[in-house]
């Protein structure tokens, strides 16, 4: 494994002058945020729209589904696992939920309980697949990479198949208004999605950094043997991370389905590497034991800003790929450099 440089050593030695403060910011965990600002400043001359309210409300909106999955992924990465099944969970939850509440032939079509039950069902699908993942890892001793690769393949296929029983087209439409309100409505100016995901982020942050369950997660990720000897229920902790990831993915499914008023088996199909990329760019280690929700927020923000600017530029597909890849690489290299400087201080 690549050595993970010590995270926070002697940060106090930095002077408090203006320059020093900037340096401190660059070297701090807000580094990716700084990169975001620099990037926006750099791209502004080409797309001045990037600094309009409309674009930022889009950025915020686009962030939400990614962010909520990324939060779940953060938990899984910290316990030294990986969850590749998130996109399949999104697909499966979206189509199953839609099949419950769709106006055309849904199980609970027209019923007042349709929407709440559909939401519950979506959560159950997410948690259920998370449970299958967790169970296989904990009880069957399987590596999470391959477990979730298999469940991803399985449920992505199952979601497509599932739709054929409920719709003549390739997705399930006609979702109730009250459900799609979730994506369009707002509460005193704050969109519901932002509200919900924001709350999830805050809860996740507190849970991870302030509660003993959070400590379990870090300890298990850092050294499961030591965690076990310290009386931490290692199996339960791993299971918990995968359940959280599944639940988070099903929330993303709700956002997608509400936003497109459709239960689509391919919504968010390609976000997997983006999500993991965002979490890792944020600074969470793929090898467990290290990570923070706030880092993930920054990582997702960074990626969404990048994507949005590409969209605004109307860059062609190849340009998007090349620029995105290069910027991710650059960010990762700067982050590594930063950690190295920190370690040498």
């Amino acid at each position: 494994m690549t050595a993970v440089p010590p995270a926070h050593i002697a940060q106090s030695a930095i002077p408090r002058s203006g320059m020093g403060r900037l340096l401190k910011l660059v070297l701090s965990e807000y580094f990716i945020l700084v990169l975001c600002l620099l990037y926006v400043a750099g791209i502004y001359p080409f797309v001045p729209e990037i600094l309009t309210w409309g674009v930022w409300s889009n950025i915020l909106g686009d962030m939400m589904p990614l962010l909520v999955v990324a939060i779940g992924q953060t938990f899984v990465l910290i316990v030294a696992g990986i969850d590749l099944s998130i996109t399949a969970i999104i697909s499966m939850a979206a189509v199953v939920g839609a099949s419950v509440m769709t106006g055309t032939g849904g199980y609970l079509s027209g019923s007042a309980a349709a929407v709440p039950i559909a939401i519950l069902v979506m959560l159950l699908v997410g948690v259920g697949i998370g449970f299958i993942n967790g169970m296989s890892i904990v009880w069957l001793n399987m590596p999470s990479f391959i477990v979730t690769l298999a469940t991803r393949m399985f449920f992505a296929g199952a979601a497509i198949w599932f739709v054929t029983f409920h719709s003549t087209s390739s997705s399930i439409a006609d979702l109730p208004r009250s459900f799609s309100n979730f994506s369009t409505g707002s509460f005193s100016g704050i969109p519901y999605t932002v509200l919900v995901v924001g709350m999830i982020a805050v809860v996740a942050h507190v849970f991870l950094s302030r509660t003993r369950y959070g400590r379990w997660i870090y300890a298990v990720g850092a050294n499961p043997k030591a965690a076990r000897v310290s009386g931490i229920p290692v199996e339960r902790t791993i299971m918990m991370a995968f359940l959280i990831s599944g639940a988070c993915a099903s929330v993303a499914a709700m956002i997608y389905a509400a936003r497109m008023q459709t239960g689509s088996p391919i919504a968010g199909e390609n976000i997997l590497l983006d999500v993991i990329g965002a979490v890792v760019i944020g600074g969470t280690s793929l090898f467990g034991g290290k990570g923070k929700i706030i880092w993930t927020v920054f990582g997702v923000l960074f990626l969404v800003i990048l994507d949005t600017s590409m969209k605004l530029l109307g860059a062609s597909l190849f340009a998007i790929y090349i620029i995105k890849g290069s910027v991710i690489l650059l960010a990762a290299m700067m982050d590594t450099l930063r950690n190295r400087i920190l370690a040498e201080r």
Partner: protein, 309 residues
């Protein structure tokens, strides 16, 4: 960016085959000629991403959107958003699901076109007086086009139960190597397959490879000829038709469709009334009608450019 010029967003689902590449190219050139700025984006078969792209286009205050949506249902909120922002929206090649939102769709009827093409081939099969075992290469099961073409195929062969028996339904995920392996394996299981439909012409190279290996690559008239139906109307497909390897091909009239799309945008911008649905009937090009129809086949035009004289 030049001040005052108008911008059109061109949002495609993907550029997975020559059809789309040619389509976006033609639209791009035409719009440029007319002095438009273009904002391009590809959603890569992700309907959420496409939704975000539409919103980005709206945020950039474009003057019109030409879209190839990933999903006919999922695009509706995007149409609504465009309606709200008062930006005209035209669907190229695929219609959205019915709704109260307003947009103009240029539709090629995938199902009908594939049905027509396959029906011709079925007639050929019937005329041979033999029974035929058939294979179909199905596209990505999450792709509506793939589904419609499959259904068109099914409708056609269902009319000829005594002639055609479908023995292999091969999923390709729109993947060349999956298609190649699938067809090879199907030929292994049923060496007597003599009727083949591909849901897209872009799989032609793999089909050619697999059939050659099985010694089944022969032109019309040879007794080992596999009755072969394509879809899309690629330059390759024209070449195969010309050389007699392909019996029929469902063709979408690309030129007509792009023309319709751009005209619709222009009309909408000028506030003219445009029908919600503009049909490209498409057609099946067959060994019979190839000479009279080829000029309408976009693949032939491209082929002619590449093979002058």
């Amino acid at each position: 960016r030049a001040q005052g010029s108008k911008t059109i967003a061109v949002l495609f689902d993907g550029l997975y085959s020559e059809f789309w590449v040619a389509g976006i190219q033609i639209i791009r050139e035409d719009l440029k000629k007319r002095g438009f700025e273009i904002m391009e984006a590809i959603s890569d078969q992700d309907d959420n991403k496409q939704f975000e792209q539409v919103r980005a286009a709206i945020a950039r205050k474009v003057d019109g959107i030409i879209i190839v949506q990933t999903d006919s249902n999922a695009v509706i909120p995007a149409i609504r958003a465009a309606n709200e922002a008062d930006i005209p929206m035209v669907h190229f090649n695929r219609p959205p699901a019915p709704s109260d939102a307003f947009s103009v769709a240029i539709q090629a009827d995938n199902q009908k076109i594939s049905r027509d093409a396959v029906t011709y081939s079925c007639e050929v099969a019937k005329a041979s007086g033999k029974k035929h075992k058939a294979a179909i290469l199905i596209g990505d099961l999450g792709d509506p086009n793939a589904i419609q073409r499959r259904d068109g195929f099914q409708e056609a062969v269902d009319q000829y139960p005594d002639v055609i028996e479908v023995v292999a339904k091969i999923p390709t995920e729109w993947n060349a190597d999956t298609a190649f392996a699938g067809l090879t394996n199907a030929l292994q299981a049923n060496p007597d397959i003599s009727f083949l439909f591909t849901s897209s012409d872009f799989l032609i190279p793999q089909i050619q490879q697999a059939l050659k290996t099985a010694d089944k690559w022969h032109p019309v008239g040879n007794e080992n000829h596999v009755i072969f139906t394509g879809f899309d109307g690629f330059p390759d497909a024209y070449a195969l038709m010309k050389d007699g390897y392909m019996d029929a091909c469902g063709v979408q009239n690309l030129f007509y469709e792009t023309e319709l799309a751009i005209q619709a945008i222009l009309d909408l911008q000028e506030g003219k009334k445009v029908d919600k649905l503009l049909l490209d009937p498409g057609f099946a090009i067959t060994q019979q009608n190839i000479e009279e129809k080829k000029e309408e086949m976009w693949g032939y035009v491209l082929w002619k450019e590449k093979n002058p004289g």
